[in-house]
């Protein structure tokens, strides 16, 4: 879950109302998020990934105030349809990062905290919702340092002074030498097809999605800001521009549109800030939440979540908050109404049954067998399904065979799925060397192997018995009892299995099929696992 950090002073300032920590924690939790940490100068929040608008202190303050019925701003319209800037999009960019949106915010009065918040917001946004800039990247520029118009296309190598650098870098050197280049260069295939860049009449203002130019850097002196959003989906870059537009509007800026002229397409405007509506019958939300909601309730709950709502015949029409990019259809609106109502106030009610409950046949069978094992004085062990070749094979004196293998383990102890149970049980005995003998353990659980290219998951039972007097006949007696009680009728024959002492291992045969084996564990296996007493063991497919 994305974690974002707000400066306390800045948050208080944009909130404009006093909210103590206890209230904040409670309200945040009711909204469906968590305060991770209260620090002296900052507050850390866990925000679910559907609400990137809350990664911004301004956006968070807006939603919190609404939720506490202290806010009343629902409308984020831009009256002026006339764009103040134009981005011409070339034809070559289509292959790499086709879409761009922009906005202009005039009259910004930013101090250091405000700039820091904007930077933090766009960084967190690109990291999470933007999938580490793969889907979306955002750049902010000093509008007055730009000589329009802007061009967005794929360019051959060029040079510019990247943000916070003193000298010019060719694009290829940015990718090789600067941290951002190394981290994000792969997104543009390290320039193998050319470099996506945003240029004005004087040259590069951003190598997309890597780094902006020093020339257009914003700071607290910046009055007018240009924001570019680039990405892989036209819809998403447009919605992102709208989300940022709302933030700048809350900051008191005069937000203007940018014209995007895609190659051979009629130019479009961003951010559109078009009003979107969802209509549903008045009763619908209440009937899905299981609470009775009247018209006035619904309006008030909708406002609390930033919606405007109006009655249209027997339907309610909700105007969606422009800055929300997670609302798909009425289900999402209903959830918001539920959150506004408060999950704590929704009374639990029963769902009556028509069918009789029933456990799976395999569960009932496993329970029966486990019960029998308890009767035979074996305790139940539980082990990880994940293992490695050393434990599963070589420790047991076997050569690795075909198996289910993990592609991306984080540790060398996990490289495959276990193919049998006895290695796990040997580990249990190794962890028991200081405990009283005899030690009898069983495990009834799944093992995995490959049948051609198909993975097979099957239940086995494994038994181990460690004792100074442990011997073949003891396990044979256990097998005979299992065979009799389960009515298996398996035949026994000598078995050559490297994990067992030669001549002291038997295989169980169901007709001609080997279904299991038991015997005295080879002393080399015992010392591989650090076990100091003789062990007899059995493994059987169920």
């Amino acid at each position: 879950m994305p974690v974002t950090t707000f400066d306390r002073d800045y948050l208080n300032r944009v909130l404009g109302i006093k909210v103590d920590d206890k209230t904040l924690e409670l309200q945040v939790s009711k909204m469906g998020f968590e305060v991770e940490k209260f620090e002296k100068e900052s507050i850390q929040l866990n925000i679910t990934p559907n609400r990137p608008d809350l990664l911004d202190a301004v956006g968070f303050a807006r939603s919190l105030k609404n939720f506490m019925h202290k806010g009343n701003k629902f409308n984020y319209n831009i009256e002026d349809m006339k764009p103040v800037l134009r981005i011409n999009v070339g034809s070559k960019i289509r292959a790499v990062r086709p879409y761009v949106a922009g906005l202009v915010a005039l009259g910004a009065e930013l101090d250091n905290e405000a700039v820091a918040n904007l930077m933090n917001f766009s960084e967190k946004f690109c990291d999470t919702y933007g999938r580490r800039r793969n889907k979306i990247a955002i750049g902010m520029h000093n509008l007055n340092a730009i000589t329009p118009p802007l061009y967005y296309d794929l360019y051959p190598n060029d040079s510019f002074t990247p943000l916070n650098q003193q000298k010019e870098y060719p694009f290829e050197k940015v990718l090789k030498e600067l941290d951002q280049g190394v981290e994000y260069g792969h997104i543009i295939d390290n320039g193998s097809q050319g470099y996506p860049a945003l240029m004005d009449m004087k040259g590069t203002i951003a190598l997309i999605p890597i780094i902006n130019s020093e020339r257009t850097k914003i700071d607290k002196e910046t009055k007018d800001i240009f924001v570019d959003v680039t990405g892989t989906s036209e819809y998403t870059v447009g919605r992102t521009a709208e989300m940022f537009a709302a933030t700048f509007m809350d900051l008191g800026c005069d937000v203007k549109r940018v014209e995007i002229a895609y190659f051979k397409r009629k130019p479009i405007l961003t951010p559109m800030m078009e009003k979107k509506f969802i209509k549903m019958p008045l009763q619908k939300a209440g009937s899905q939440l299981g609470v009775a909601l009247g018209f006035n309730n619904v309006i008030s709950l909708a406002n609390k979540m930033g919606y405007e709502a109006a009655l249209l015949g027997s339907n309610i029409r909700f105007t969606l908050p422009t800055y929300r990019i997670d609302i798909m259809n009425e289900q999402d609106v209903i959830e918001d109404l539920g959150i506004a109502y408060g999950y704590d106030y929704i009374q639990p009610t029963e769902v009556y049954s028509v069918e009789q409950g029933r456990q799976a046949d395999t569960t009932l069978a496993a329970d029966k067998i486990s019960q029998m094992m308890i009767g035979l004085n074996f305790s139940e062990a539980m082990n990880s399904y994940l293992t490695n070749e050393k434990i599963n094979f070589t420790g047991m004196r076997l050569k690795p065979t075909i198996r289910v293998q993990i592609k991306n383990p984080k540790t060398t102890s996990i490289t495959m799925m276990r193919t049998w149970l006895l290695p796990s049980l040997m580990n249990n005995l190794a962890a028991s060397v200081h405990d009283k003998m005899p030690q009898n353990l069983f495990e009834l659980d799944n093992v995995f192997y490959m049948h051609g290219s198909k993975p097979i998951e099957v239940a086995h039972i494994g038994l181990v018995s460690a004792d100074s007097r442990a011997n073949f006949n003891e396990m044979k007696a256990v097998f005979e009892e299992m065979d009799a009680l389960l009515g298996l009728g398996y035949k026994l024959a000598p078995y050559d299995h490297k994990s067992f002492i030669d001549g002291r291992c038997a295989q169980m045969l169901d007709g001609k099929k080997v279904v299991g084996f038991f015997g005295e564990i080879h002393p080399e296996v015992l010392s591989n696992f650090g076990i100091e007493e003789p062990v007899v063991a059995l493994e059987m497919t169920l």
């Binding site: 609400r51 959830e335 993990i406």
Partner: protein
């Protein structure tokens, strides 16, 4: 009661009192050490009383013993002088005479005049009364001499002459039997006839009749017998299954090795979603992909994904084999199949349909004392008419209620449910709310139900945490897997 104790009690009861250790040893034919041990035990049980005194104990040295038998050298000398009236000094040769001469002189019993030895008046009277040292020595030799009340000077002299040794010794004195001891003694006497153990012969012959069995000391510590038992987590799983079935749920299951389609795509999780990344999910190199058994649903999943997530949906990505990260994949398989069947054969179904699954799930974690790569999880679904969020809360509340656990709900987000929530359980142990799982109404994009009145409630939760709440001796979930038998033996039944 040990036989030494019985014997000592018996001797004390019969004896007229004043028996000491040696006498008891004599009477019971038990060595001194045995007697001492028995007395200590008997005293602890209140059957005897005695005092412990520390005494000086004198013993003769070899020289002292010789003098006790043959007389002190000065005494022998004085006797010879007395007989002869006077004896010339020169005639008194030999070690004995020299020692005698020196001591007799030092004590003023003789005098030497003109080379002749003669008894003094003191000497004469001492010879008549007997020399005190001599008395002590012969007393010690016969055992009648006691150190109490002995002249300190005399003792010091004998010590100086190395005729005796003195040692400090603890002695048990004034041994007497108590009333309880008398009682115990008589019952012990009766016990001589008690049976030690019962055997087939005694039962058959009826030899037990009229005889008592030797009673045991029930307080003697004995090692525990280790019970074979089910694994604590398995007990929780059984309890969970009972809770579900008692609420009308039927158990379903699915594979642990799954396609990304059933783990992620079918649940509306966009490709590229952080939860799908290698960071969190085990992908497989063998098999790298799985044959998709989802043909009827591919086009609707693709459409929903592309419509709502604004990105191309890749079938190749959906085929990638993973270890399931949640048992919700089992629910997903069931919902997709059941819903299309319900739509076709409405009359064959009586709603609501309640299903649950329990099984292993996997997370690509850095393993440490708090993190495991596989855990057990449960998922549940209800497919029914007009189901509500309130119903969802009701089912989960009841399910956890069967463990005596209180739950509460908090809004949260999962791509496949809307409304969605997390639920928390209250731990009486740590006095805090612990996150148990997630739940919600499945999105219509997943259920794809043409009948809008049919909704699906779904939830998923880890099982280990229930055990952490119930068993306060558990420190971490990592204890649950791969532990030794000692750990298992120590677990209380939960």
């Amino acid at each position: 009661m040990h036989k030494y104790e019985t014997a000592v009690l018996e001797a004390l009861r019969k004896g007229s009192g004043g028996l000491d250790i040696d006498a008891l040893s004599e009477a019971t034919k038990v060595g001194r050490d045995g007697i001492m041990w028995a007395l200590e035990n008997l005293k602890t049980n209140g059957f005897v009383e005695f005092k412990v005194e520390t005494n000086k104990r004198m013993e003769l040295t070899d020289e002292g013993r010789g003098y006790a038998e043959n007389g002190l050298p000065e005494e022998n000398l004085m006797r010879a002088v007395d007989k002869a009236g006077s004896v010339p000094v020169q005639s008194l040769k030999g070690e004995g005479n020299q020692i005698g001469l020196s001591w007799a002189k030092r004590k003023g019993f003789i005098e030497i005049k003109d080379g002749k030895v003669m008894l003094t008046a003191d000497g004469k009277s001492a010879l008549q009364k007997g020399i005190p040292e001599s008395g002590v020595l012969s007393g010690l030799a016969t055992g009648s001499e006691k150190s109490q009340g002995m002249n300190e000077n005399l003792m010091r002299e004998l010590l100086a002459r190395k005729l005796i040794t003195v040692s400090m010794r603890k002695g048990i004195v004034d041994i007497s039997i108590t009333d309880a001891g008398i009682k115990a003694s008589s019952s012990a006497r009766a016990g001589a006839d008690q049976l030690e153990s019962l055997d087939k012969q005694i039962i058959k012959t009826g030899k037990w009749k009229g005889r008592a069995f030797k009673p045991y000391d029930v307080s003697v510590p004995i090692g525990r017998k280790a019970a074979a038992k089910r694994h604590p987590l398995r007990q929780i799983m059984s309890q969970m299954r009972l809770a579900y079935t008692s609420m009308g749920f039927r158990e379903i299951s699915g594979p642990a090795i799954e396609s990304s389609f059933w783990v992620f795509d079918s649940l509306f999780m966009p490709q590229g979603h952080p939860a799908r990344e290698m960071q969190d999910t085990f992908y497989l190199s063998n098999p790298e992909t799985l044959q998709l058994d989802a043909a009827p649903y591919l086009s609707s999943v693709k459409k929903a994904q592309e419509t709502w997530w604004h990105q191309n949906w890749s079938l190749a990505e959906a085929k990638k084999a993973v270890l399931r990260t949640h048992t919700t994949s089992v629910s997903a398989r069931y919902v997709y199949t059941a819903i299309s069947d319900i739509v076709q054969h409405t009359s064959a179904y009586s709603l609501p349909i309640k299903r649950f699954s329990l099984g292993r799930v996997f997370r690509n974690e850095n393993l440490d004392y708090r993190h495991l790569a596989d855990l057990n999880m449960t998922d549940g679904i209800i497919i029914g008419k007009d189901l509500t969020l309130s119903n969802l809360f009701g089912v989960i509340t009841k399910l956890y209620g069967s463990f005596g656990i209180k739950v509460k709900f908090k809004p949260s987000y999962f791509p496949f449910v809307e409304p969605g929530c997390e639920f928390y359980a209250y731990s009486e142990n740590t006095k805090e709310w612990i996150e148990m799982g997630g739940a919600g109404l499945l999105r219509e994009e997943i259920t794809g139900i043409p009948r809008k009145d049919i909704r699906v409630l779904a939830w998923g939760a880890g099982l280990e945490r229930i055990l952490l709440i119930k068993d306060r001796s558990l420190k971490s979930v990592t204890e649950l897997y791969g532990s030794g038998i000692g750990w298992l033996r120590d677990r209380k039944l939960s």
